[in-house]
Amino acid sequence: MTKQTLLTGILVEDSNELTLGELSRACGKPAEWLLALVEEGVLEPVGDNQSQWRFRGYCLRRVRIIQRLESDLGVNMAGAALALELLEKIDELRNQIAVID
């Protein structure tokens, strides 16, 4: 089935952030799990208390990677968080090398 209508999406970025509920829905994980990621320092919500928290677009990307690392490789949250940080570092370095080469 082909839809020919042109769809326009919303760029998920600083101007339109996700609430805890939206983030939870977008990754299909319970809020408690996301709270643990905030505790772990992987997600940095903007806003004073939990009901006002807003997550930027990169948070969803991080959540998805952590989720995959946890389920595919059997690492725990702390391990996945470490791997994520190292992966982001590698990406940055790889980018720098690509410019030099």
Partner: protein, 315 residues
């Protein structure tokens, strides 16, 4: 349908122990995990390994698979013999815990044809919002400057009237807005998986990735590039043309520049509020001494310019 050699995929002998299988899976899963590996076929390999493990880790499935015999070659045309799985207990048990979307037809035919999970709760008042769907989209860097439309093919599972899950292909035309960055998400409300009962459809999230570009590397809103210049442009300064994704610009090279010096073109990066910058790293390219005249010029420099590029090294 092609025969899949699950042992070969896992790099194992048919006599491998369950421990060997687990170890090999762990190793290969780390190696080919699409978030970890940058190899082009990582995702395909990862799925293959996952599928192979799904069968080999389960002694019953493994026994049934082994029962097919060792004479098939990978990729060979394959039809399961009638009643090939009789006497094995997994029959009707369906999948265990793996996400079978993306497993091969071969797997589907042998292990996937029964007991497929969800049953439609018809008649009941069960309503649930559909799941959000995620997909990756590769675009060109230029698309971030001009905006573009991309046609995206998606596979999403759908329940039919009998409560069976089918993969449905659909194509969406999506507008890629100007100013997207590497890794950024576009949310398309209501384009995810259908809900149950009166539940709304989920959302579709598209993750943007840039195709590798011969000139620029993107980092956030900023672009990085190398610009070759001649020795005299570096030494004397010059006005040169430089490419940007939005078109050629005139660039002033300051006198006394050298390889590795950086210039910043403010606001010429990926459009936005504020727009990104372009960082240019200069790279001095030495012309070849392939004519008598060129040689003479180099010799003249050698004789008249007191210059030791290794002075810092004390030699």
């Amino acid at each position: 349908m092609e025969y899949k050699d699950y042992y070969k995929i896992m790099g194992l002998e048919r006599s491998a122990s369950q421990d060997d299988i687990k170890r090999s899976y762990r190793k290969l899963a780390r190696k080919y995990h699409p978030d970890v590996s940058k190899e082009a076929d990582a995702e395909t390999r990862f799925k293959e390994v996952g599928e192979a493990y799904e069968v080999l880790k389960d002694p019953e499935k493994r026994a049934a698979y082994d029962h097919l015999g060792a004479n098939y070659k990978s990729g060979q045309d394959f039809h399961p013999p009638p009643n090939w799985d009789s006497g094995f207990e997994f029959r009707g048990g369906g999948f265990t815990d793996a996400d079978k979307a993306g497993f091969s037809d071969f797997f589907e035919e042998l292990f996937g044809h029964q007991g497929q999970g969800a049953q439609a709760a018809y008649g009941s008042q069960f309503n649930a919002r559909g799941q959000d769907h995620h997909a990756k989209v590769a675009v060109d860097l230029e698309d971030a400057f001009q905006g573009a439309t991309r046609s995206i093919s998606l596979q999403s599972p759908q329940l039919d009237a009998q409560g069976q899950i089918h993969l449905r292909n659909r194509t969406l035309n999506v507008k890629i807005p100007k100013g997207v960055k590497e890794g950024q998400l576009i949310r398309l409300a209501g384009q995810g998986n259908p809900g149950m009962g009166q539940g709304n459809k989920g959302d579709l999230y598209l993750e943007i990735h840039f195709n590798p570009h011969p000139v620029y590397r993107a980092q956030g809103h900023d672009l990085y590039m190398q610009l070759p210049i001649s020795p005299w442009e570096a030494a004397l300064g010059a006005a040169v043309k430089a490419p940007t994704p939005a078109g050629k610009i005139d660039l002033k090279i300051p006198a006394g520049s050298n390889s590795g010096n950086k210039l910043r073109l403010k606001g010429r990066g990926i459009p936005g509020n504020p727009a990104g910058d372009i960082y240019i790293t200069l790279s001095v390219v030495v012309p070849p001494a392939n004519t008598d005249q060129a040689k003479k010029l180099y010799e003249e420099m050698a004789n008249t310019l007191p210059f030791n590029p290794r002075a810092d090294m004390g030699v």
